[in-house]
């Protein structure tokens, strides 16, 4: 009752509180490039403000501003087509001065579930980029925006914000918001797919007039990971959840259409539709007028046409919604994929130590009784499958907690990496004969021991270890099966993971079925020690690989420290032979101490800053750190300077690198000694880069400039680079290059 009373009290005081907040919220530092927030999230579920990329209007003919909406956790606001119940954000600019046009941009939406309704919009936070054209360039612009939007979770609150932002006359210095506005601008779907490496392939209609299906195909320069499509059309047509079939770089969506007002027939043939493909941070928009049978899937992808590829029904939220049509793959097919994927994992390079442990266990069984062999291998099978079930439970748990999940995400955890490296080191030491452990000695104490053999629990845990080590590997079929499972319910996740486990355990299962294969091997003897030593090298190689992962993810210093500690572990074991037995008791303590230190290392040592100031060579192009002050001096010595501003979220920048800068004639040209390539990384806000962009009246990227004797102030290149444009600009920059490049 008390909370109810509070809730109602809150309801009554909303209006008053919003006004107080509006008055007190004015003190945050925003260098004048933002309006006040119109409320506080303590009182209302959402708030809005106007932000600008510049502190003044300068002589810009186009000003970049944005409406930023912040929502209470769990609340959503809507895209221009809400999908389910909802309404889009709208703005009234009444009262603004020196405002000619304001072009409102919609960043690509995400699909979410509001109480069982598939909806499209934005969760927690969004910035809508807006391009303002002033009537008079150089004159102050006063923006008065009434923003109407909807915030929904378990309740819906229609919001109305009156926002005021004055952009004074004077220099257009970049504001602290330039980077963020550009990040959201980068998410606005493009119509020219080349900008983002996506391509619209075609569309057509399938099915019947009372249950039509819109088929839409896209391709990409890189394999699709998690594509989704949003279809918009006349208001009388309602589009259901898309079903997707994926074949590497090709995806075909099948979207059911029905009459939004309950009519039997759906008038869709030839209707103008707008489709938006979203794949990670990139998005492409295409206009289509689909006709019956107007598109041939077989010509694009025989695999998809013949029912192959991956079928992922009911994108986004799990639910019924009749998504299990014939077009997608059945769960049975996916289970077969999972089984195959698990089997193929056995021969993949990252499973080297897995193989070696398996080989070892096979060797260990040489000359043993068939019964012993069978039970031992079955225990390993159980270990493998149990580990997969644990992984499945983790995935289900993380999914329920709203976390992003994927195959091998635990490798992003430094502590997990340290644990795996430590285990590998211990195994390697064991195989070198530096110390004797029965495999379970580390993890289990009451092992059921057979004379001289490895215990059942040992077999079980070696199986689990196999699974853990296999997780960073992505074999064919594997991602397909897991991708399917992740978009489905709990049952599917467990089924697919179990099938993967059975696949990975297949060699063990075979040996358990035909134990004679092993018992015919020679009895364990001195030859086995040699085999062990060879196999231990595979373990060390894996540990080194994990260290390199750690170096990339945490820092080189941390990885080196952990590596040194592992050498200490090996040395402690090695020295044990030379110290008195009494002191030998200190060995486990010393090892434990080193292990604890290793686990503490990622927390104790600083993480490396992104791209520390060094030269990075990618595809023969040597990118120097960004240093605009050095440019005049370089030009005076006859060099040509190519400045490339990029960011992880800037897909077009990445496309430019892969399609133009790092291939062919351009890469060879940029590799020349008389050309200096500077890379500025704007992934995170950076005042120097923002100020540099502003000197060209730019407040966003991609941005590339060529400096030379003939173009000392820099020649800017188009956003979407072409080899021709880059080579011409380089040639025009200096007389020597003009001759060299022609």
């Amino acid at each position: 009752m008390k909370t109810n009373a509070l809730r109602f009290g809150r309801l009554l005081t909303l209006g008053l509180a919003a006004q107080i907040i509006a008055l007190t919220g004015a003190f945050a530092q925003t260098d004048g490039a933002a309006s006040d927030w119109d409320g506080s999230l303590d009182e209302v579920p959402a708030r809005a403000r106007l932000i600008a990329a510049t502190t003044g209007v300068g002589q810009l003919d186009e000003l970049r501003v944005g409406i930023e909406i912040e929502l209470e956790p769990g609340f959503k606001t809507y895209w221009r087509t809400p999908g389910g119940p909802g309404f889009p954000t709208s703005i009234d600019w009444e009262g603004s001065t020196n405002l000619d046009t304001a072009a409102f941009k919609w960043p690509a939406p995400t699909r979410f579930d509001v109480l069982g309704f598939d909806s499209f919009g934005y969760i927690d936070h969004v910035i809508f980029p807006i391009e303002i054209i002033p009537i008079e360039i150089g004159q102050p612009v006063q923006l008065r925006a009434n923003v109407g939007y909807l915030a929904c979770d378990d309740i819906c609150v229609p919001m109305s914000a009156d926002l005021t932002l004055d952009l004074p006359a004077g220099p257009a210095a970049p504001s602290q918001f330039a980077n963020q506005i550009d990040q959201f601008r980068a998410r606005v779907p493009v119509t020219d797919g080349v900008m983002v490496g996506l391509n619209f392939e075609g569309a057509g209609l399938q099915g019947t007039t009372d249950a039509p299906l819109v088929q839409i195909a896209f391709s990409a320069t890189e394999p699709f990971v998690s594509p989704d499509v949003f279809v918009e059309g006349p208001e009388e047509i309602f589009f259901g959840r898309p079903e997707m079939r994926l074949d590497g770089n090709t995806v075909v969506f099948t979207v059911p259409a029905e009459d939004a007002f309950g009519e039997e027939q759906v008038n869709i043939s030839g209707q103008p539709l707008r489709v938006t493909l979203v794949e990670g941070g990139r998005a492409l928009e295409a206009r289509i007028n689909p006709e019956w049978g107007g598109f041939d899937v077989a010509a694009l992808s025989p695999a998809i046409a013949s029912g192959g590829g991956v079928g992922i029904g009911g994108l986004g939220a799990a639910g019924a919604a009749g998504a299990t049509g014939a077009a997608g793959l059945s769960i049975f097919a996916v289970l077969v994929f999972a089984l195959l994927g698990g089997m193929i994992l056995n021969i993949f390079p990252c499973v080297l130590p897995v193989l070696s442990i398996k080989l070892l266990s096979v060797v260990g069984h040489g000359g043993g009784s068939t019964r012993e062999v069978r039970t031992g291998f079955l225990a390993s099978v159980a270990g493998i499958i149990a580990a997969f079930l644990v992984l499945a439970t983790l995935v289900v748990g993380l999914k329920a907690a709203g976390q992003t999940v994927g195959w091998g995400i635990q490798f992003q955890q430094p502590l997990f990496l340290v644990g795996m490296i430590l285990l590998l080191t211990l195994f390697a030491c064991n195989m070198w004969g530096l110390f004797e452990i029965r495999l379970p000695g580390l993890v289990s104490d009451t092992a059921v021991r057979h004379s001289g053999g490895t215990s059942l629990k040992g077999h079980f845990f070696s199986g689990s270890f196999t699974t853990l080590l296999a997780t960073p590997c992505t074999a064919p079929f594997l991602t397909t099966a897991i991708g399917f499972a992740l978009t489905r319910g709990i049952g599917e996740v467990y089924a697919v993971f179990t099938a993967l486990g059975v696949g990975l355990a297949m060699p063990f299962i075979l040996i358990a079925a035909f134990p004679k294969m092993v018992t015919k091997l020679p009895k364990p003897g001195p030859w086995m020690i040699t085999v062990k030593k060879v196999l231990s090298l595979a373990l060390v190689a894996t540990a080194v690989w994990l260290l390199s992962v750690m170096a990339a993810q945490v820092s080189l210093l941390t990885a080196s420290t952990v590596a040194a500690l592992m050498v200490v572990v090996a040395l402690i074991f090695a020295m044990r032979k030379f110290i008195p037995a009494r002191a030998g008791r200190a060995v486990p303590v010393a090892i434990a101490a080193v292990a604890i230190f290793a686990f503490a290392t990622p927390a104790l040592l600083p993480r490396s800053e992104v791209a520390s100031a060094g030269v990075e060579v990618r595809a023969e192009v040597a990118y120097q750190p960004f240093d605009p002050a050095a440019i005049p001096a370089l030009i005076s010595t006859g060099k040509v300077v190519f400045v490339h501003v990029t960011a992880d979220w800037c897909i077009t920048c990445k496309v430019n690198e892969k399609r133009v800068l790092e291939v062919g004639d351009v890469a060879s040209a940029l590799a020349r000694d008389d050309i200096v390539v500077m890379e500025a990384d704007w992934t995170r806000p950076n005042d120097d880069i923002a100020a540099y962009l502003a000197t060209f009246d730019r407040f966003g990227i991609p941005f590339d400039v060529v400096y030379g004797q003939d173009t000392p102030n820099g020649k800017t290149l188009p956003e979407l680079l072409t080899a021709n444009a880059v080579l011409t600009a380089l040639g025009n920059a200096s007389p020597t290059l003009r001759l060299a490049l022609n």
């Binding site: 009752m1 309801l11 929904c152 007002f261």
Partner: protein, 194 residues
């Protein structure tokens, strides 16, 4: 009438208790709030509901005064509100449950700006029918009644006073919901005023 006798006896008992123990007694007669309607907030005193007229779908006008003498359950909603849409079918069942009770009226108030056309399409699609349907596209009623978020279901007593409301979705065809409505139907206006 029997209820009022009980209520009268209750008051007497309360006075007697207060005299005897000098403590303010909480009387047993409180609305049953549990389960799927646990977020219902009963007011200490009825708050007079606004009597601003709203348009009906046949072009007329109606106010809560037209339902005076009945217990009115009023649902504020909109087609753009997911949680509202979700509970709509359960409200239809609630309306049906009390259909034969002349003391009961069920009214829905839509905030849709798209007007009757949009509401009619929605009802057709979901195969629902609410005879007492009002349009509040300008928030003429929602504002004075402090309906800032949706959905809201409010209960108005026979004297035109709002006795409580629930903000957010609920299952209105659940036994708890029906018990709650029945409580106010059994009441003749003595609640919260003693």
């Amino acid at each position: 009438m029997r209820k009022s006798v009980i209520a009268g006896a209750g008051i007497l008992a309360a006075v007697a208790t207060m005299l005897l123990f000098e403590t303010p007694a909480a009387l047993a007669d409180v609305p049953p709030i549990s389960g799927s309607v646990q977020n219902f907030v009963a007011f200490d005193e009825p708050i007079p509901a606004s009597i601003i007229p709203l348009s009906t779908r046949d072009g007329g006008e109606q106010t809560f005064e037209d339902f005076r003498g009945k217990v009115v359950v009023v649902n504020f909603w909109a087609t753009w509100c997911g949680p509202c849409v979700r509970e709509m079918p359960t409200l239809a069942k609630l309306q049906e449950h009390f259909a034969d009770n002349d003391d009961f009226a069920f009214v829905i108030v839509s905030q849709d700006r798209g007007g009757w056309k949009e509401i009619a399409r929605f009802m057709k699609r979901l195969k629902l029918d609410f005879p007492n349907s009002l349009l509040d596209d300008k928030l003429k009623l929602s504002r004075p009644m402090q309906v800032r978020s949706l959905p809201v279901v409010a209960i108005i007593d026979r004297q035109g006073g709002e006795v409580g409301r629930l903000v957010g979705g609920a299952e209105w065809d659940s036994p708890e919901a029906i018990e709650l409505i029945q409580y106010y139907l059994d009441d003749d206006g003595g609640h919260g005023t003693s």
